[in-house]
Amino acid sequence: MSFVGKPVERVEDEDLLSARTRFVGALSFDNMLHMHVVRSPHPHACLNAIGVDRAKSVSGVVAIFTGSDTRELAPIGFRRVVEPELSLYQQPVLALDRLRYVGEPVAIIIATDPRIAEDAAELVTLDVECLPPVSNAVAPGPDDGLGLHVQEAAGIDKSYGDIAAAFEAAAHRFSISCEIARQTAVPMETRGALAVPHGDASGFDFYGAAKVVHANRAELARILCLDPNRVVLREGHVGGGFGVRGELYPEDVLVAFAALRLQRAVRWIEDRREHFLATNHSRGQVVMLDAAVDHNGVILGLTADIVADQGAYLRTHEIKVADLSCAFLPGPYRIPAYRAQASVRLTNKTPCGTYRAPGRFEATFAMERMMDTISRVLKIDPIQVRRRNLIPASEMPFDRDLTAAGKKVRYDSGDYGLTLDKAVRAFDFEGMRKSAADRRAAGEHVGVGLAMFVEKSGVALRETASLCLSSDGSVELVTGASSLGQGLETVLSQIAADSVGLDMSDFKVVRGQTDRISQSGGTFGSRATIMAGSAVHAAGQLFRQAIIKRAAELFDAAPEAVHLQDGRLEIAGQPVDLSRLHMGNGDNAPALKIETTFDAENVSYPYGVHIAQVSVDPDTLQVRAERYCIAYDIGRAVNPDLVKGQLVGGAVQGIGGALFEEITYSNDGYPHTTGLSTYAIPKMADIPAFDVLVLEDWPSPTNPLGLKGAGEGGINAAGAAVAAAVEDAFSSQLTPYRLPMTAPYLFKLKTANERRRRQLDNLSD
């Protein structure tokens, strides 16, 4: 019996459906205290003094800490090594003498009850001198009136090929400017952290951990000057991640700091308003593209100029998102000459980090808008123009001649044209277009758009897993990877069952506990199934051999007489319970345990096609996604249903990003978007009908199972596909270059169009 490749039910679901859950908000310890964070109400100010005396006198308040207490703590560092001068822009865990965004932590109140802490916060006074804020990352125009320059934290410059020659040789030149608004992930569980100090003050247990527990352990230990082995991160259930959850934030350090100082457990649970001010934002890019194109629509050269609105500080991901935009903008297209420059600029807003398909959602939107622009102007079919630019399968593996976050980009395998053909056929793209055209002829605004993309998956190329036989005959599978809800336990159990020869139900998965395994890269960048899965696969093969060897020794049999298959252990035809192997020949026998580390040779690159069909209300200009199709080559799907779940879930998030999601600030730096009524995420009524084609045409050569990642392929091209569909819905009379395509944005485009047309009419009169 094989489990890999089957859409088996999830092992997580019984606990989740029965509320046998360990979300951090439901955990509590004896004598536990509660933290409330006092946050800056100002976008930009000098902080002269903080008045805490009245708040301290509130009954139930145990302690108040401000920047003067935490001044010695190093700011949270970057996870990769970058230019040292970037550390200038790291965020202190509590503001020192300057406030740089609304929501910046200024003080923490520790009390016996969270409500008391929140009440006391109202009594804290801030003596400040307000400064003019920078609220626009794109250089302010002459009538901005503030006289400010926008501070560039870093510039990025990547290129290959002869750009000047490409533009000289080109028959056509296309310039577009695309904008992607600030957005954020909005997991349904807000963040939370709970630190329980060890009795001797040498360390603490930290609950509410997620995503990258080993990296966060090292960083917490560094900041708090502790032995990393005395800092134990414990992941329970996590209510969604999408990139933002599980990064190390000031509040995580502060909870641990307070717990160590007070020698009591301290818990902090973010509320939703705080979440919109405190948790990483993302996107927020302007991408200007200039393409040199021949008369067949083939791109000879492309330049990209990107401005990223980073917010007030560089957090754990420093300038990586803009770097990824630069690296992955060419996507599946050959583009013989390319140059990308990015400017990462600081503004008085919440700092940005990664959000599902970081840098790629933005880059794919811009690249695919360029493809549709070329198609429209040169009157070449959108499928044709793409086909002419695709990297052919014969050139795989394909060296991109670029680096992404410091590593060379080398597409491992694939046939982009084949997937395009399959998508066009399977979803009857021509039929969809014809039916949309018929409906347009009948007066409706209906359109169909297509977008292609390449994703990256399996970054951080090392992962460890262990398998250990328990006394009851079950096998404990330990991974340091994290489950943010995607079904990691299920997938790892499937892989383990096949490689050992046992049943999925024989495995008990332990994840995200730093004291249980020595190493893990964590869960991000669509890596968990590939990396933790490959480590489990390798451990499983060794574990199988170890079982057979132990059984042969114990029962005095030849190894060939031992059969382990389909969850049954047989020795010379007689079934033997696995639990009998637990202690072997006596109490001194070593435990049957295998721990092994898998190193991948490279990142793998899944890819695919999105097709969106939308209708637009002619009066309100509200866009409705009617149908959405995804073809995605994942190399090998461990659980096709879970892959589909990732793709559909990601696509709906992407449709939200394409149509409504936007974090806005007033011109003077105050956030407008502080809740789910002002930041609209898709509801069930907003979703289209889905068709998903999970393809396994090109297994990845980077790992033994041929795996590529599923996490981000659903969102990557959603902005691009929906924009193409909106353009088609208006018969290309209206060409959106901005996300989200809200009704006010489309109204602006429409009125500008109408004005232009009137002017033309007047001229011809």
Partner: protein, 165 residues
């Protein structure tokens, strides 16, 4: 603002059992249920009535427990996703959610279970069911598998009702 809070006792039925609990007048029903009554299914996603994660049944009607004060539940029958309206209903809905993989992280799931219970008891047609389900937010699944689970439950309603009688 004073931190001296009024408090007192209320009694209500929780998943069929009488409860007498002490409450602060300012405590929300959601906080009371999860902190004092140990209902792990009651989770707060926004505390502003927008996400529906904390949805429970109050006298059979789905409501957002974060928008009600605990004192307002005095004398009411509260049912949470731990029990729903009956053990059979709970088992059926759980089965359908597993089969259709209608949950990922599971944080918002209890709120959806409560809505589905209501939908099945009212035997709402699927389009009305979608309307009801649109009151809760999920960020993982994209909703499609939840719709499939509910469609499956609604279409099998007749047979299973027979079973229950």
């Amino acid at each position: 603002m004073t931190t001296e809070q009024m408090s007192g006792h209320i009694s209500f039925k929780l998943n069929g059992r009488e409860q007498i609990v002490s409450v602060d007048t300012r405590t929300s029903l959601a906080d009371e249920l999860r902190e004092q009554c140990g209902m792990a299914s009651v989770r707060v996603g926004c505390a502003q009535g927008e996400c529906g994660t904390c949805t429970i049944l109050l006298d059979g009607m789905p409501i957002r427990a974060c928008l009600l004060l605990a004192v307002q539940a005095d004398g009411a029958h509260v049912q949470t996703a731990e029990a729903l309206s009956s053990p059979d209903m709970l088992a059926r809905i759980k089965r359908a959610f597993k089969k259709h993989k209608a949950l990922q992280c599971g944080y918002c799931t209890p709120g959806f279970l409560v809505l589905v219970d209501y939908i099945l008891r009212r035997a709402l047609p699927l389009d009305e069911a979608r309307h009801v389900l649109s009151s809760n937010l999920c960020r993982c699944t994209g909703y499609e598998p939840i719709v499939s689970a509910v469609a499956d439950l609604l279409s099998s309603r007749g047979d299973e009702l027979g079973e229950l009688q």
